[in-house]
């Protein structure tokens, strides 16, 4: 069982809590404590809005253990409106309709389960904006 390695990331997985660089203002997700852009310390927490657009995407057919029952599924690079890219699955989407630039919003979904008896790992995925599709 891998309980603690997911538990410690719950703020990131549920709420996209990253950091902001006090020196250059760049927003960071995942949090990394040292700014990617200017390498100054960046430890001030920042909660992202969860809005963004598709930067790139791939539909995965050859899935790793733990994800085989989800295949085919779509993994994307989502460009958050605050700047950073995040790797996440797209959900509630028909793979043939995905386009680079498509607006998406963060939702919390099951990422995978540790078998039938292990924990369920929840975290962020992104879906086409519901208000945009309505």
């Amino acid at each position: 069982m891998e309980v603690s390695r997911h538990w410690r990331l719950k703020e990131q997985r549920y709420s996209l809590v990253g950091e902001t660089c006090e020196h250059c203002g760049v927003k960071l997700f995942p949090p990394r404590d040292v700014c990617l852009a200017c390498e100054a310390p960046a430890k001030e927490l920042y909660t992202f809005t969860g809005l963004g657009e598709v930067y790139s995407y791939t539909t995965v057919y050859d899935a790793p253990a733990g994800f085989e029952h989800q295949a085919p599924y779509t993994v994307a690079l989502v460009k958050l409106e605050e700047g950073p890219l995040v790797t996440a699955q797209l959900t509630d989407v028909d793979k043939d309709t995905i386009q680079i630039g498509m607006p998406v919003e963060m939702v919390t979904r099951k990422l995978y389960t540790e078998g039938d008896e292990g924990t369920i790992v929840y975290g962020y995925k992104f879906r086409p904006s519901v208000s945009a599709t309505a």
């Binding site: 719950k10 549920y14 709420s15 029952h69 989800q70 699955q89 959900t91 509630d92 028909d94 939702v107 919390t108 979904r109 099951k110 990422l111 924990t119 369920i120 929840y122 995925k125 519901v130 208000s131 599709t133 309505a134």
Partner: protein, 354 residues
């Protein structure tokens, strides 16, 4: 103040300060199920039902409904003192759904959290408890959720209707409410019309026994008692929502009680999404709140097998119009519709043994 007429009303006036719905995007038409088990012959109880996707369960759906309620309420989640989730399909047998939801909306750690269970009325009993929590002054806000990913045994009558969805209601002071709660009433007996034993995957039921002695006796009993206690009659209500296990039962209960189709139609979602169990009555209320006007009176009556009904009397405030567009509306979720076939349904609902 409670008295012998059974009406439950807190000392401090309370109401709904935020509400939110969630319905997954997938739909399986009832005709698709009938094709599988009845050769496509005979009638079907609803048009179609909602089905959760592979990555959805009561936790994820509750989180989305709760976020919608929080968007409308616009309050600091740290002021919430209870996160309660009523469901018959909690993903864990032991491990609360409610702590995950509380964490996701930022309500931890200064909050109560618990899962509630009472077949299809687990959500409304959490609402009643929240009324007590807030009404007593123990909490400023309490969040109650009714949500399910209901399972029907393949080929069983319930397979046509057992659906996924629900709603979240943030209860708080009446002064901040979008709908003030005038009172609540519960009607409970030992009536075994529907059950699931601890290790069984699918529920069992008493077939036609689920009707008169169960659903109708409790729903009508609760509705008549709350109206009597508050001195109201059906025509005093602009809208009414009765638990909706199918399309027929709530229509018949409404008719027997003297409500018109116009009063119940906006909240009658079962023909299009099925029976969302613990979510059923509450999501009906969200659809009504999406269209209600200040001063409108709303009656809702849930039903949970085993058996009992919780009734609530609401009055809509001016604040509703200000907040309802802050989150996705129930109709938007229902219109976001992707039809699936029986094969996809068996995969999504974990009916395939791998």
């Amino acid at each position: 103040m409670s008295d012998t007429n059974g009406l439950m009303k807190p000392d401090r006036p309370v109401g709904i300060v935020g509400y939110g719905a969630y319905v997954p995007r997938y739909r399986i038409p009832a005709t698709e199920i009938a094709k599988m088990w009845k050769g496509g012959e005979g009638g079907v109880p609803i048009k179609e039902k909602s089905v959760n996707g592979l990555d959805e369960d009561v936790v994820t759906m509750s989180i989305e409904a709760a976020r919608n309620a929080m968007l409308r309420a616009g309050i600091n989640p740290q002021e919430i003192r209870a996160v309660w989730v009523g469901s018959e399909s909690h993903p864990y047998a032991v491990k609360p759904t409610s702590t995950i939801v509380a964490e996701a909306i930022g309500a931890v750690p200064n909050t109560q959290a618990a899962d509630w269970e009472f077949a299809c009325k687990a959500g409304t009993e959490a609402m009643q408890a929240a009324i007590g929590f807030v009404g007593s002054g123990m909490a400023h806000y309490a969040l109650s959720i009714g949500m399910d990913t209901a399972q029907g045994r393949p080929g069983d009558a319930l397979e046509y209707t057992a659906a996924a969805g629900g709603a979240a209601m943030l209860i708080g002071p009446a002064a901040e409410a979008v709908a003030i709660i005038n009172g609540s009433y519960s009607f409970v007996t030992d009536t075994p019309d529907f059950w699931r034993r601890a290790k069984a995957q699918y529920p069992s039921h008493g077939d036609r026994f689920t009707g008169e002695p169960a659903y109708f006796a409790h729903v009508s009993g609760a509705a008549e008692m709350i109206m009597g206690a508050l001195g109201r009659q059906p025509s005093d209500y602009t809208w009414a929502v009765f638990h909706q296990p199918n399309a027929k039962f709530p229509r018949r209960a409404a008719q027997q009680l003297g409500f018109t189709p116009e009063q119940i139609n906006p909240g009658l979602l079962s023909p299009r999404i099925g029976n969302t169990y613990a979510g059923s009555t509450m999501i009906g209320l969200t659809a009504v709140l999406d269209i209600a006007q200040p001063g409108d009176r709303i009656l809702i009556v849930s039903y949970g097998s085993g058996a009992g009904s919780d009734a609530f009397d609401f009055e809509v405030t001016e604040r509703l119009a200000e907040v309802r567009d802050r989150a996705t509306k129930t109709e938007t979720y229902i219109s976001r519709r992707t039809e699936i076939d029986y094969a996809t349904y068996t995969r999504f609902r974990d009916k395939l043994k791998l």
